[in-house]
Amino acid sequence: MTTTLTAADAAPTGLETSGASGASGRRPRRRRGSSASDPVGGVGASILLWGYAVLALAPLVIMVLNSFRTNADFITNPLGLPTSPTVAAYKEAWTVGSFGTYFVNSLAVTAGAVAISTAVSTMAAYGLARSRARIFRWIESLFLSGLMLPIHLAILPVFFLFDGFGLIDSRLGLALMYAAAGVPFSIFVLTTFFRQLPEELEEAAVLDGASPWQTFWRIMVPMVRPALATVAVFRFVPIWNDFLYPLVLLRSESKYTLPVGLTNFFGENATNYSALFAGLVITTIPLIVLFLFATKQIVAGLTAGMSK
């Protein structure tokens, strides 16, 4: 009797359990459906998203891996891994391929341009943010119009301008050109920042007898430091990567920046694959390092680009 009862009890219980498990299998899904705070697409989407991340990075990983192999190794097995990693390709690219020279040139031109551009733009942005006269609104829109200008199309007049100044084949000339090209974006970001700072700060400084320059340098600049970092980091990338200006404005190989030097090297060493991969890595590595240290600034810069 007890056994049948138990069995009878057990049967519905079993049914109930299966029903409950079925429901519990469905219920969270239903809950997920009705709440907007759960991710769209579930596990399948996660796999897709990570799969796409692999696709985004695989070519760069392959580039790095192959730069640590010998050329013979690559030709016999292009899909192989660097089982006995060697830096021979880097040595060759750095010295024989002159990448050492190109690297220093790129670094000098880019750092110089970013420094000049950020310095003059910070001053200008402060002046724009704190002046009331109508001429300043006019100047501001003049600068902002530069955001849309395809300045590469002005390469011919730039070429003749440089020719007149004796700046052809000059790294300083190239840096000044980039510094000028960065002014609109830098002013655009920095003016917004300066406008957000309360004017009482400066009024207090003036009462204490500070000159406009002291107020700017000692009080205002330290307060916009995060914006300065965004501007500097974000401008670094396109200058480092630019190709047309050094291609046209530089003449001697000893002054080439990396993108032009790379083109040169590619033309002469089309079959020395491992050295080519090493050259590509050398050109890219500073930006990867920059990215790892300043992801926030780069993302902020990309998003600021939207509002232009």
């Binding site: 907007a36 769209v40 070519p59 002046s131 200008l149 011919l156 700017f216 990567n241 780069i298």
Partner: protein, 299 residues
């Protein structure tokens, strides 16, 4: 701040910007309206430099092809990059833990110089030693192990897809930011009323994203019309193979610096002016349409 002090703060930037950007930009147009003998400027030429773009070799044949490639580059990038970018951003939305990480990973290729990207993919797609074709052969897809970059029929699409691969992180970021601005109450309310994810997206989210899509379109347009470094790395200044990856900027570079034509400065400046008008006019028109749309949404 006194006007004079303000101007003093502005002076260095104004001088730099005026000398190296504004002055060259303005003179670029004037060059197009003069006759040129080498580097010496002759008399006023009217529109003859512009008519040379239509009537004379190499422009007569190369310009329509190059312009078509720019347009295909824009349309292809818009379709593929926007679709992927919007889908990925939608899927990433609300994945608070992994979103930042994945956004960062997708944005990585954007950092790399287009020249590096072009050479890297040239190596990867090399018909003999390229890892891509080796991999395709290994997994039994020999029929797809083709010289993608060597064939004039496919080379342009390789350039477009590689560009999409490089830049897709950008729309992902922008659409991600725009999705963050869609009011939660709206989507939540629609879900409670029984709308499916698809319906919510079509009827609520998508219309609110149109300004962001417009912005991405304008930036993509400017980007596609200016394309230079990436095609240069793939096909050199002549758009190999057989001019199939030629773009207007490459044609401009060739005519300005490689052609040796005696009036190269005049004709290439005319070409630059035309390209400028296309870019600026297109961007302006699109922005105007967008503003009107935004006003209509607001009212």
């Amino acid at each position: 701040m006194k006007t004079r002090t303000g101007l003093a703060f502005l002076a260095p930037a104004l001088i730099l910007f005026g000398v190296f950007v504004l002055y060259p930009m303005l003179t670029a147009f004037s060059y197009a309206f003069f006759e040129w003998q080498g580097t010496s400027r002759q008399g006023f030429a009217g529109l003859s430099n512009f008519s040379a773009l239509v009537n004379r070799a190499p422009f007569k044949t190369d310009l329509p092809t190059a312009l078509l490639h720019n347009v295909l580059f824009f349309v292809g990038t818009m379709l593929v990059q926007n679709t992927i970018g919007l889908s990925v951003a939608t899927l990433l939305h609300r994945r608070a833990r992994t979103r930042r990480m994945l956004q960062t990973l997708y944005a990585m290729p954007y950092l790399v110089s287009p020249i590096v990207i072009g050479y890297l993919w040239t190596l990867l797609l090399s018909p003999t030693f390229g890892p891509v074709n080796q991999l395709l052969t290994k997994i039994g897809l020999e029929q797809f192990a083709l010289p993608w970059l060597g064939d004039p029929k496919t080379a342009l699409w390789v350039v477009i897809l590689v560009s999409v691969w490089q830049w897709v992180g950008f729309p992902v970021l922008l659409y991600g930011a725009a999705l963050g601005g869609v009011p939660e109450e709206l989507t939540e309310a629609a879900r409670v009323d029984g709308a499916s994810h698809g319906q919510v997206f079509r009827k609520i989210t998508f219309p609110l994203l149109i300004p962001a899509i417009g912005t991405v379109s304008v930036l993509t347009f400017i980007f596609a019309m200016e394309a230079f470094a990436l095609p240069f790395a793939f096909g050199g200044s002549t758009g190999n193979p057989a001019g199939s990856t030629d773009f207007v900027s490459l044609l401009f570079y060739r005519s300005a610096f490689d052609s040796g034509a005696v009036d190269a400065i005049g004709t290439s400046s005319a070409l630059a002016t035309v390209l400028f008008l296309i870019i600026f006019g297109g961007a302006m028109a699109a922005t105007k349409v967008l503003r009107r749309h935004e006003r209509r949404m607001a009212s």
